[in-house]
Amino acid sequence: MSEPDLDPVIHAQARLKVVATLASLGAGDRISFPRLQKLLEMTAGNLSTHLRKLEEAGYVAMEKTFEGRSPATFIALTPRGRYAFESYTAALKSLLKGAQ
């Protein structure tokens, strides 16, 4: 498998899972940090680190808001992030075809 074909931002188990999770929500949907953490079974620190990398690449958008009086963060995949995820899975599928 030729790794350079695969987007290095997504090409890590934790970030691939984050992006796959966000991509399975509807377009225009965002999810709270604690719920995302629960779906991914990751520690808060670990998830923050990966989200920061994805945000730097422009793949996710983080929105800080308030739920009542307590601060809350909502995370969404950007159109660019969705495109990157689709390209990544398409690249995997073409690698798979090449291998057969």
């Binding site: 090409h11 970030r15 796959a20 709270s32 798979l96």
Partner: protein, 229 residues
């Protein structure tokens, strides 16, 4: 440590084969969908049981006395419907927690449609009762108007989430509700229990069967992919 080196180290924790990586993506996405989307099978089961048991009780009670079910039968029927309603609310609330945006807004508008429509059904029934409608008219009207609301909102829900089974269930409930109005009580309650409640339960069975078939198909393709190289 440079970014490139970092990325390479990150990539090492991934399975080496693209088929395994695709399977990883699919299993994560399946898990997220089951975790965040309401289960049609569970909701249909709750309403199927409530309708079947509730309407059957109205029928049995209605045939014993002179065509009008006893007060207790209506109370139990109401309690069964309220339980199914509470179950639906709690289930959807738990699945949707922490998710905002377009689908949450659509879901909230859809939820309010139910509340508004049934509030108006209640107002119409109160008005008709005050105008002197007989018990039989009240029974026919309350059942057929409720069926009409349920049917229309199921069809809309089917269109909204592209769930053909939900749409088909809406069409079926409309037909059963219309037929029940023609048949009249107490036989209409037997029709509602068997065809209405049974319709929900049939939807549960088809949901479970299709889901099982889909799962076995994806695991079969995964296995084929692993054997091939």
């Amino acid at each position: 440590m440079g970014d490139g080196e970092d990325a390479r180290r990150d990539g090492e924790d991934l399975p080496a084969h693209p088929a395994e990586m695709l399977a990883l993506i699919r299993s994560q996405q399946d898990m997220v969908r089951t975790g965040t989307e309401p289960s049609g099978a569970l909701l249909f089961a709750a309403w199927g049981v409530a309708w079947f048991a509730g309407y059957l009780m109205l029928y049995v009670s209605g045939t014993q006395e002179h065509g009008l079910p006893a007060g207790w039968a209506f109370v139990v029927f109401g309690m069964l419907l309220v339980s199914a309603m509470v179950f639906t609310g709690v289930h959807i609330g738990r699945r949707a927690v922490g998710v905002r945006g377009a689908s949450a807004a659509a879901g909230a508008m859809y939820g309010w449609s139910w509340a508004v429509c049934f509030a108006v059904v209640f107002l119409i029934l109160s008005g008709v009762a005050r105008a002197g409608a007989s018990d039989e008219v009240m029974q026919i009207l309350s059942n057929s108007m409720s069926c009409l609301v349920v049917a229309a909102l199921y069809m809309v829900g089917g269109a909204l989430w592209r769930e053909w089974r939900m749409f088909a269930l809406g069409v079926w409930i409309a037909l059963v509700g219309g037929a029940a109005a023609i048949v009249g009580p107490p036989s209409s309650y037997l029709l509602m229990a068997v065809a209405g409640g049974g319709g929900f339960l049939l939807a549960v069975v088809s949901d479970v069967v299709l889901d099982r078939r889909r799962r076995s198909q994806t695991s079969a393709t995964d296995a084929a992919v692993e054997v091939a190289p």
